[in-house]
Structure formats: C-alpha cells, structure tokens
Symmetry: C2
Subunit: 157 residues, 2 copies
DNA sequence: AGGTACTTGTTGACCCATCATCCGAACCAT
DNA sequence: ATGGTTCGGATGATGGGTCAACAAGTACCT
C-alpha cells in the first residue's frame, strides 16, 4: 500500500511541505498583486490586461488566436473581449475571408490604458525576476517543467 | 521610460519566460489534476477535500480554524462546510462556550469518502515530490519563499 | 448595567476559470 | 448540391476565490 519506510508520505505532512499547496499559495499572491496593480492603474482586470498585451504583440487577431496565445479558455477570452469592446478599448472588424471570425485590435484608448498600467507591471516583473539569480530561475523553470509533466500524466500513481 | 539597456525587460518577453505566467500555468494544471482525481474517486471538490483533510488532522474544529489552517477565505470555507453537511459528510454541534461557532467533525460517511480519495491523492503527492530531488525541492521552496515575499511588497517597483 | 469594540460566521456581489453545448460558417467528400 | 465534419465563437451552468457588509455573540471597560 505504501513503501515500507514512509507511512506519512503524503497526507500527514504539514501543508507547507506540499508542493501543490505551496505553488497555489504563491500563485494566489502573485495573482492578487497583479490584480491590485491593474485595478489601481487603469482599472483593467488581469485577463483584460493579458488580452491587450497579446493584441499589442500580435496585432490584429481573432478570439481563437488570443485564446491560443494566452493559453486561456476561449470562453474566457470571448467574454473578456466583449467587455473590452464595451469599454471602447478594443475594436473589431469583419474578416472578409472568414465570416466566422472578427479581427480585433486595440483602440487609441485601449493603448492609453495599457500604457498606464505597463510601467507598473514591468516593474513588478522585474522585481520578481530580481528575487532570484539567473541560476535559480533556470532551476525553478526546470522544476516547473517537470511538475507540469507530472501533472499531465493521467494516473500519477 | 525604461532602463537604458533593456528595452524589452518586461513585457515583450515570450510568455514562457515570465515567472508569474509559468507559475500560473503549472498551478492550473496541478489543480486540474487534483480536481479530476477527486471527482473520479469519491466526488469531492478540492476545497471539500482540504476541509476533510484538515478536520482529520485537527479533530473537531470551527469554520474559523479551518479557514486559518487551510489558508482559504472564511467565506469559502463556510459555503464548503454547508455543502459537506448537506451531503452528510460533516456533522456540527453547538459549542456551549461560544454560541457563535459550531464545532465540526467528519461523519463515518465523510471518513469513508475521504479514504476513497486518499490513496490516489497520496500517490499524486508522491509523484510530484518524485519529480524533483531533495536538493531541487529545497531550492524550489526557497525560490517560492522569495517570490512570495516579493508578492507581498506593496509597490514592487 | 451599559457602552463599545472585537470576533465569528453568513450572505451577496463580483470576477476568474472550465466544461458542455449550441449555432453558423467553412470545408470536403461523393 | 447536399450531407457530414470541423472550426470559430457565444452562451449557460457550475465552482473557485475574494471582498464588503452584516448580524449575532463575546469581551472589556467604566
């Protein structure tokens, strides 16, 4: 049932020893921090921010493209784009080659809001990178890769 | 506007280089994995699982205690406990010393469901730990600590 | 006792996130 | 062209997660 030496391998460990728990905690905090920064500097939500960021990188793109690139659910992107259009931060025009999709782009106002938030988000990203050395970050990313792989396996046992 | 040497310090990096983004991705996957395992083995949600786990560790406890120990919001715990009571997995009795709180404990059925899920969750936890060496894990945890600290600072610039 | 402040838990509102489903458009067979 | 399949996107439902407001209980203080 369990390897002979470790009766409390999993569930009786203190929470701060559990990988998944620690990651969840840190991620929640990072998320909260980003959310707060965005709220205070332009009033974007995190997903709205990511969409604007991605539009800025890709130029005119469709909902599907944004979903793929941001790795967010297409339903989430669809709703977020609607909110951005409603706020006048994103414009859409028909794609004459495919009536199913609309091509999205940021408006001048969208760019303005983006640029309100951008320096703060850049500073944050820089601070996060600064919390580790190059070596550590590469090690961290490596470990994350392996965790991600472990999370993908269907039966972890 | 930006430090002289690094025009693309933050926002133009590919997403997989962004710490917050990577963590979010991995955490989402781990979460999805745990959610799936629990759904298929007893039908608990992740929060319900954590509550049952904590009750098993702490014995009879209040909503507030559970919130503190799991580090979840008390509102979330409150609602989760309600769902567990509705399903008959958790029992409550009045605390005669403090009329505000009820003391919660798992029922026999709650324990049974917990034990259905437990081996799978243990195996998962073990697999996650196994994805790294002791050294790497300690390094990872260290890095996470610093990220957490960075996330706590109010202005990251 | 009465007043005040703090604690405990519930509720409502809101956003994030995922899943299933549905619809119209597009593509592709025969 | 017509029928089937796939694709792009929208929508509804559900649960996670946070925050603010609130009611009731408790504690303290005089």
């Amino acid at each position: 049932m369990v390897e002979s030496e470790e009766g409390d391998e999993g569930l009786d460990r203190p929470l701060h020893d559990l990988v998944s728990y620690r990651l969840a905690r840190v991620q929640a905090k990072l998320n909260a921090q980003a959310t707060r920064i965005l709220k205070e500097n332009g009033g974007l939500t995190l997903v709205q921010w990511r969409v604007l960021l991605m539009l800025r990188r890709l130029g005119e793109s469709s909902v599907g493209e944004l979903a793929r690139e941001t790795q967010f659910d297409k339903a989430l992107i669809s709703r977020t784009v609607q909110s951005l259009v409603a706020r006048g931060l994103v414009a859409h025009r028909d794609n004459e080659h495919d009536q199913r999709q609309q091509l999205l782009s940021t408006t001048a106002e969208g760019t303005a809001i983006f640029e309100t938030a951008a320096p703060h988000m850049e500073a944050r990203q820089k601070a996060l990178r600064g919390a580790m050395s190059e070596e550590e970050r590469s090690l961290l990313f490596d470990a994350l890769d392996r965790l991600e792989a472990a999370a993908d396996s269907r039966d972890p046992g």
